[in-house]
């Protein structure tokens, strides 16, 4: 269960960011922002030999004492960032991957909507539903 989920566009501005409301959202916004650097680093590092496909899932970007940040980049340089609580140790890598996969699929659906202009904030209810399903259930 994620604490914060963000979708960042290619130009590194957020398309969608949502946090568990009870916490200091600004902190998560800042975390996501700083994680972009790590994402860039990983992407540029891997993208050397373009022959071999770059893995979309970037894995753990960096852990802090409170939480862990995972990243995922699409081929169009749209980044997904998930922040999970460190105390949630039951979250396996595969689960994170599946969460990213779902996010990516939902994002694709949003993109397919002709009424969505790329670059606009994502306001799709379906996307919101998917994200809600992934967010921590704070009761």
């Amino acid at each position: 269960m994620a604490v914060c989920i963000a979708v960042i566009a290619k130009e590194n501005y957020p398309l969608y960011i949502r946090s568990v409301p009870c916490q200091n959202e600004l902190k998560f916004h800042y975390t996501v922002h700083t994680s972009l650097d790590v994402v860039e680093e990983k992407v540029s590092a891997v993208g050397k030999s373009l022959a071999d496909q770059r893995e979309l899932y970037l894995g753990l970007l960096y852990p802090t004492e409170d939480y862990k940040v995972y990243g995922y980049v699409t081929n169009s340089k749209v980044k997904f960032v998930i922040v999970v609580d460190s105390s949630n140790t039951s979250l396996r890598d595969n689960e994170i991957r599946s969460m990213f996969r779902k996010l990516h699929n939902s994002f694709t659906d949003v993109m397919c909507n002709p009424f969505y202009n790329p670059g606009d904030p994502i306001q799709s209810k379906a996307f919101n539903g998917i994200v809600s399903g992934m967010m921590v259930q704070t009761g």
Binding site: S44, N94, R101, K102, D109, C112
Partner: protein
């Protein structure tokens, strides 16, 4: 109050009216909207109405009881007929016509009409939510002038124009039910409109003037449709309004300012007639639609569907085709709904998420747009009646079917449309997996699949190794468990990073023989099939060697090979020959974990044709024995060597034994062996040496021991002692020859001795024990080798990790390049 005697007709009529007014079903009608409307519909001056109310006693009671209501109705009738309102006149007036409620209660009127016209009184329409009056299409709307200004809500405005038009053509129709959503627009404008257009009754105008908020409730829609009632009386669910829809469409086409829909366009657009301005049409549609579904507010009526289909055709002539997203966007943007809502509608209606709309999806989207325009909130999920059905509507366009049915039939089937999300995901899954398994994707599959960018495999795609495709578990045709073990060992231990070595794959079999268990396994496999055994046997030898080589090589590939999810099924899994089937599975299993498939693929070609079918069977058995015997000692081999020596130059052992066999072949065998050895030396250059030596040492030792044992138990025709000796010397040689593919001859040669061996060995009872002992030894060797394998693999992984970390460091040190 005074007693009231009503004629039968009157009684019926009144009771109906009462029931209609008795919305609360309390048997008493308060001065609610309906009553007031009814009274106003009577087109009586308000003071008259008040008087009537007083007279009937409602004023005192505060509400209309049934009797009061009846009295009131009668008084209305009296008043309408111009008689003075007197209580006495209630009963005295004879032949009093029934009160006419013109403007007011459409329902009343309708009912009235219905009463007298068709027995099936439309009765009370169910309360709100019942169909609204779909404007009868083609009604020759006379209200050319669109609804006058006002119209806060387009929806209602729609009604307005309709109303006038309808009123212009009053028809006895079934009562119209007020929409369950009260149109907010004020009736006033509408009234005026009516006045202008209706030209029907002065009364109406009166009523118009008198109207109050009450009318707003459902009036507009009602009045509008009043005239249309007739049309709808035919079918109780409010008829949809295709014409209005059309007008609506045309409306959108004109793209009038979104402000007031009603403001629209009069005339012009209509295909059918009507003035209905788009908005009005739309709203009527909506209202109709909304109220139409008694049970399903989202049901698309036939007319609506027909209308939608017509609209679809304007964009896409082919009813089975798709409307691209951009075209749909333009079309629906004309409806002037906010983009956010249109986006939501699109999400709901694009069922297969392909960015295009089929006819069904289009109809659903259109329906939702109209509903939204009429003020209905968009649902969170697509209603079932709007779900696209899998079947095309080509025919249904002509034969409209209830949308609900369509929906139901469609939804379950919808799972399998060719655009099902699962399929693209699967297709995408492959590329992803292929991409990740670059290493072993040396064979054909890699090229195309690795380039696909659709990496975001859908949920179905088993990106993680857990759910990835599981390589086929080898099912050995031979019932030997050893084979399974060996296969497991091979699979786990070896990294077939050398796809190009079919020979290597095959030879391992033979080498295994020298190495014990694995070889035994393959030998058995060989025996199973046709004459592959011999060739397989010796071809198998190189395999372990190669594997060892690969392992020791600590090639990153190996590690990578292991890591990525299993590759898609190898194209060349199947082996033409039955025996090789086993081999295929075997090697497929081994390669499945990530080893290069080519190794498996290579096997089939590696197997040389067997020149001697007879020998094939023999060698098969011989091989089995040989497997045991090889480690165990040349005794067995020697037995078979005599015949098959020429075919198995790889088996140096055999050559020696062949000499024993005192056949020409044996003699030739050594020669062949020598040749093969010489050749092998070259082939060995691959570098399997070190490992091989290691391994060979092991197996050699084992073999030695085995040979010793076997020597004890062997029949003895072969020369065990020389075999062990030879083994030590030639352990590598054996491996080497096994590495390469020997020609058929050699295979045959080997096969022959092998076959002879068993016969000879079997002849001796001790051989059995020896064989069993050798089997055990082979197993032990197997485990040892397996351990060695795992250790080497571990080393390999470590090395790979180191390498990766170094690479990462290197990358980090490098200046950041562009993203």
């Amino acid at each position: 109050m005074e007693s009231l005697t009503l004629s039968d007709v009157e009684q019926k009529y009144y009771s109906e009216l009462f029931v209609y007014c008795d919305t609360d079903n309390t048997k008493k009608v308060a001065s609610n909207g309906r009553v007031l409307d009814l009274f106003r519909a009577a087109q009586l001056p308000s003071e008259v109405v008040l008087q009537i109310t007083e007279l009937c006693g409602a004023t005192r009671l505060g509400h209309f009881g049934r009797s009061q209501f009846y009295i009131a109705l009668k008084l209305i009738a009296i008043a309408q007929s111009g008689l003075p309102l007197r209580v006495e006149s209630l009963n005295s007036v004879k032949d009093l016509p029934l009160p006419r409620f013109v403007v007011g209660k459409n329902e009343a009127e309708a009912r009235h009409a219905a009463l007298y016209q068709d027995a099936d009184s439309q009765g009370l329409y169910p309360a709100p939510g019942t169909a609204l009056i779909p404007r009868p299409p083609g009604r020759g709307l006379q209200n050319k002038k669109g609804p006058p200004s006002s119209t806060s809500l387009p929806a209602h405005e729609v009604i307005q124009p309709l109303a006038p038009s309808i009123e212009a053509q009053p028809e006895p129709t079934s009562p119209v039910i007020s929409p369950h959503q009260s149109p907010p627009t004020s009736p006033h404008s509408w009234r005026k409109h009516k006045r202008q257009h209706s030209g029907g009754n002065a009364d109406r105008q009166q009523v118009v003037a008198a109207t109050g908020a009450v009318w707003t409730q459902f009036r507009e829609p009602q009045t509008g449709p009043v005239t249309g009632d007739g049309m709808w009386s035919s079918h109780s669910p409010p008829p949809p309004l295709p014409p209005s829809q059309e007008s609506w469409v045309s409306f959108t086409a004109d793209t009038p300012p979104s402000s007031t829909l009603p403001a629209m366009h009069p005339s012009s657009v209509q295909e059918s007639t009507t003035i209905r301005t788009v908005a009005s049409a739309a709203t009527t549609n909506e209202i109709q639609r909304q109220s139409s579904g008694y049970d399903d507010p989202w049901k698309i009526t036939d007319e609506q569907r027909q209308y939608y289909i017509n609209q679809f055709k304007t964009i896409q002539p082919d009813l089975t085709g798709l409307i691209p997203g951009s075209a749909a966007k333009e079309f629906f943007t004309k409806s002037k709904l906010p983009i956010l809502e249109l986006s939501h509608i699109w999400e709901l209606s694009d069922f297969d998420k392909d960015g295009a709309l089929t006819l069904d999806e289009f109809c659903a989207a259109f329906h939702l747009v109209v509903a939204r325009k009429n003020g209905y909130d968009l649902p969170e999920k697509l209603p079932e009646s709007l779900m696209p059905k899998l079947i095309d509507l080509d025919d249904s366009a002509e034969v409209p079917e209830p949308a609900a049915e369509v929906g139901f039939s469609a939804s379950p089937v919808e799972v399998t449309p060719n655009k099902s999300p699962s399929m693209p995901s699967l297709n995408q899954a492959w590329p992803e997996m292929n991409q990740s398994n670059e290493q072993w994707e040396t064979f054909s599959e890699r090229s195309s699949s690795s380039q696909t960018l659709t990496q975001f495999d859908s949920n179905i795609a088993p990106a993680d190794p857990d759910t990835a495709i599981v390589h086929p578990v080898p099912i050995r045709m031979t019932p030997s468990k050893i084979h399974m073990q060996e296969m497991e060992l091979k699979r786990t231990g070896s990294d077939h990073n050398h796809p190009t070595s079919p020979l290597l794959a095959k030879p391992p079999e033979l080498s295994e023989e020298t190495k014990l268990p694995p070889s035994m396994k393959f030998v058995a496999a060989n025996t199973v099939g046709d004459g592959y055994s011999s060739s397989d046997s010796f071809t198998s030898d190189p395999e372990p060697i190669t594997r060892q080589r690969s392992q020791s090589g600590a090639s990153p590939e190996a590690l990578k090979v292991v890591a990525p999810p299993p590759p898609p099924p190898r194209p060349q899994q199947s082996h033409s020959r039955s025996s090789s089937l086993d081999m295929n599975r075997t090697f497929a299993a081994t390669a499945a974990p990530g080893q290069p498939q080519p190794s498996a693929i290579a096997f089939p070609p590696a197997v040389p044709p067997r020149p001697l079918p007879t020998q094939s069977s023999v060698p098969l058995t011989g091989h089995r024995v040989e497997a045991e015997g090889v480690p165990a000692g040349g005794a067995v081999l020697t037995t078979t060597s005599p015949q098959q020596i020429p075919q198995q130059p790889n088996f140096a052992d055999f050559s020696q034994f062949q000499a024993f066999a005192a056949s020409e072949q044996p003699s030739s065998l050594p020669d062949i062996d020598k040749h093969s050895e010489a050749g092998q030396a070259d082939k060995i250059s691959e570098g399997a040496g070190p490992l091989r030596t290691v391994k060979s040492d092991g197996p050699a030792d084992e073999r030695t021991s085995a040979t010793v044992n076997s020597a004890k138990g062997s029949s003895g025709p072969l020369a065990p002692p020389p075999k062990p000796v030879r083994r030590r010397l030639k352990s590598e040689d054996e491996l080497r020859p096994e590495d390469e593919q020997i020609g058929p001859q050699k295979a045959a040669a080997i096969a022959a001795p092998l076959t002879s061996q068993p016969s000879i060995s079997r002849s001796v009872g001790k051989d059995k024990k020896a064989i069993q002992a050798s089997i055990r030894r082979n197993k032990e060797t197997n485990t040892v080798l397996a351990r060695l394998n795992s250790e080497l693999q571990q080393q390999l992984k470590d090395l790979l990790e180191e390498r990766i970390s170094l690479e990462v460091q290197l990358e980090q040190l490098r200046p950041f390049s562009h993203l």
